[in-house]
Amino acid sequence: MLSIGLVWLRWKKGKHSYVVNSLVAVKRYQFLIRQLVSRDFKSKYKRSVLGVFWSFLNPLLTMAVQYIVFSNLFRFDVPHYQAYLIIGIVFFNFFSESTGMALGSIIGNAGLITKVYVPKYIYPLTRVLSSLINLVISLIPLLLVTIFSGIFPTKAYLLVPFVLACLAVFCLGIGMLLAAAMVFFRDIQFLWGVLSMIWMYLTPIFYPASILPENVAWVLNLNPLYYFITFARTCFIEGISPEPIVYVQCALMALGTLLVGALVFRRTQDRFVLYL
């Protein structure tokens, strides 16, 4: 509330802050954003036979493979394991896809950036948005699996958009950070492959959080993805709203990450064109 008041005051004084400017620009460039998102989306499935259907099929197949592997090999004691698994998979897939796409967004659009002026944050933003469409599509198999494993929809499902928004904002923050870093150090792309794999194993996607040994468990408290996924699992599997504090934690982590990403991006964006 306080920050909104502050922004409003500055607006009245005629000082248009970066935040307000970006929001105005988002409105002005929304047609371009739509065009770029639809381009990303179209070219992703171009020339594949099943097309968009893959967004639907992919999480389902990953879930099936992991389900078979883990329910035969390790046998974790998790109720509604299929639902538990697919929520983790869908969320983490979005994280790795959107950050991976945002990572290359500046480099990949070098042809445009060196020829036409467009606010540069539009490029990572559109990449995250087009992954978000994918995420929304993969909610269909997610719902099918939860229903199939004997859970009936409750009102708590209405809370899921909140956590999806947090997740998207978080990914945008990471994506902007990576996109900016990538311009100066191309090694980031390889490093990020490894880092996101470590991140995957440190996030309880296919195992319950309780199996982590004491000395590693503290990492979970620092892992925003763990909060987001737990939030979603509480809504979907238990059918109840999480504790109020969890909302605050999720929102803060998402906005904090975006703030860091946006600041780094803004400080470096004028030099991008010299390194492309």
């Binding site: 381009r39 179209k42 042809g111 064109v273």
Partner: protein, 242 residues
């Protein structure tokens, strides 16, 4: 006196030319440790000032590497000047290299909208102009096929049509009137003249001195980042050819 639309105030653009462009963290650290992080500076533009009034057509001439393209990039906001300031009013359509925003997997129609959006036009505007753009490009039925199947002449036609059918306030043109066959070149030249008489401010770079003489009211001659001469088109063109 009419309104200023472009003001270039004391603009300097310096590029750092590292002996080896440092691209990875490892290289950066190792070269820094060896104390080899020296870089030569290259001054592409050296304290340039000028202004352009509304409706004027300003030509830029000079040899390769004189700083013409850098100047255009600074004006269109792609490059930020090292020193100095550029103030522009109105929307700028840079035709620096045609079709830079094309996606080869999309059809001609989809690319018209994508490219139009990149140039800053609204959806309604493009929908209204769509037929006109297609007609100008003379692509006919090919508009519905992916442009990876286009010939380079067809690509150029499409790109020019998108850029020229719209009504920009400031048009930046870098060596593009040489696209397509003779008939299309003539057509695009006419279109350019039409835009110029319609109040569009144009910045024009060309190596064809006849084109400059014909189209521009005022000409700037750049040499090695300095303004060597600025004045009426005929005067500058006469001394430039010598």
């Amino acid at each position: 006196m009419s309104k200023m639309v472009i003001e270039v105030n004391d603009v300097t653009m310096r590029f750092r030319m590292n002996n080896d462009r440092i691209m990875s963290l490892k290289e950066f650290v190792t070269t820094a440790l060896r104390g080899k992080l020296e870089c030569n500076e290259f001054v592409a533009l050296d304290h340039i000032s000028f202004h352009v009034e509304e409706g004027e057509t300003l030509g830029l001439v000079g040899r390769n590497g004189a700083g013409k393209s850098t100047m255009l990039k600074v004006i269109s906001g792609i490059l930020k000047p090292t020193e100095g300031k550029v103030v522009t009013k109105g929307n700028i359509v840079p035709m620096l290299e045609l079709g830079s925003g094309f996606d080869f997997d999309l059809t001609g129609r989809e690319n018209i909208f994508l490219n139009g959006a990149i140039l800053g036009y609204s959806e309604e505007f493009l929908k209204k102009k769509y037929e006109e753009i297609v007609a100008f490009s003379e692509l006919g039925q090919f508009i519905e096929i992916p442009i990876r199947n286009y010939s380079s002449g067809m690509l150029a036609r499409l790109a020019f049509s998108v850029a020229a059918m719209v009504h920009p306030e400031i048009l930046i043109v870098d060596e593009i009137l040489s696209v397509g066959d003779a008939a299309f070149q003539e057509k695009s030249r006419k279109r350019m003249l039409e835009l110029m008489s319609g109040g569009t401010t144009v910045l024009f770079v060309s190596h064809s001195i006849e084109q400059i003489r014909e189209m521009c009211s005022r000409v700037i001659w750049l040499e090695q980042g300095h303004i060597k001469m600025m004045g009426k088109a005929d005067d500058v063109c006469n001394s430039y050819t010598i």
